[in-house]
C-alpha cells in the first residue's frame, strides 16, 4: 500500500506480558515517529528515528519501552511487562525527513492491557 501501515490494529494483553507493535513506513521516508494517545490525552511523542538511529529517546515513558528500526524501514515498538496505564492508541508516522516535511500517520494500534 501507499500509506503507513501498523500491525496489529488491536491488541489485548494481560498485565505483565510483553507486546510488540510494528510500523511499516512509506517507502523512501527516512524519518519515523512513534506517538501514543491515551484516553483524554493529546498525542504524546515517544521516539523518532532518522534512518536507523534514534537521536532522541527522551520521550519513552520508562525503560520498559524500547524501539528499533532496521534497514531504514520497518520499526518495532516493544513494551515489556505491560501495565494497565500502557493502554492507549500507539500511532506511527513517517516523513521524508525531519526538515520542513509533513508526517503521514498510520491508523494506529489500539492496545488494551487487562
Amino acid at each position: 500500500g501507499a500509506g503507513v501501515s501498523q500491525s496489529p490494529s488491536n491488541k489485548v494483553t494481560e498485565k505483565g506480558k510483553d507486546v510488540e507493535l510494528r510500523c511499516d513506513p512509506i517507502s523512501g521516508h527516512t524519518a519515523l515517529y512513534w506517538y501514543r494517545q491515551s484516553l483524554g490525552q493529546g498525542l504524546e511523542f515517544l521516539i523518532y528515528f532518522q534512518g536507523n538511529s534514534a537521536p532522541d529517546k527522551s520521550g519513552l515513558p520508562s525503560d520498559r519501552f524500547s524501539a528499533e528500526r532496521t534497514g531504514g524501514s520497518v520499526s518495532t515498538l516493544t513494551i515489556q511487562r505491560t501495565q494497565q496505564e500502557d493502554s492507549a492508541v500507539y500511532l506511527c508516522a513517517s516523513s521524508l525527513g525531519t526538515s520542513l516535511t509533513l508526517q503521514y500517520f498510520g491508523p494506529g494500534t489500539r492496545l488494551l492491557v487487562l
Binding site: 503507513v4 493529546g42 523518532y48 532518522q50 500511532l91 526538515s99 509533513l102 491508523p107
Partner: protein, 111 residues
C-alpha cells in the same frame, strides 16, 4: 509539561458559519506549525501548516493564523460543513525535529 495547548476540548458550530479553533504554545523556538484532522478509528491527516516566518496561510476554506508575540495559533474554517466534524490537533515542530501536539478539539458542525 504541555508545550502545545488546546484549551477547548469541544466546539459546536452551525453549518455555514465560521469555526475557530485555538492553540497556544510555550516554546518561542518552534519553527513550524501544523493542524491535523482526525476521524474516529483513523490516524490524523494533515490539514494545513504555517512557517514561523509567516502570520497567515490560506487553503480554500481553511486559514491558519499565527501570532508569534502571543504564541497563539488559530484555524478558521469558513463556511463550516458537517463533514468537517472531527477532532483537530494543533502541532508544533522544534528545531530538533520533534513534533508536539495539543490535546485536540472536537468540532461538531450541526446541519
Amino acid at each position: 509539561d504541555q508545550q502545545v495547548k488546546q484549551n477547548s476540548p469541544s466546539l459546536s458550530v452551525q453549518e455555514g458559519r465560521i469555526s475557530i479553533l485555538n492553540c497556544d504554545y510555550t516554546n518561542s523556538m518552534f519553527d513550524y506549525f501544523l493542524w491535523y484532522k482526525k476521524y474516529p478509528a483513523e490516524g490524523p491527516t494533515f490539514l494545513i501548516s504555517i512557517s514561523s516566518i509567516k502570520d497567515k496561510n490560506e487553503d480554500g476554506r481553511f486559514t491558519v493564523f499565527l501570532n508569534k508575540s502571543a504564541k497563539h495559533l488559530s484555524l478558521h474554517i469558513v463556511p463550516s460543513q458537517p463533514g468537517d466534524s472531527a477532532v483537530y490537533f494543533c502541532a508544533a515542530r522544534s528545531r530538533g525535529g520533534q513534533f508536539y501536539f495539543g490535546t485536540g478539539t472536537s468540532l461538531t458542525v450541526i446541519p
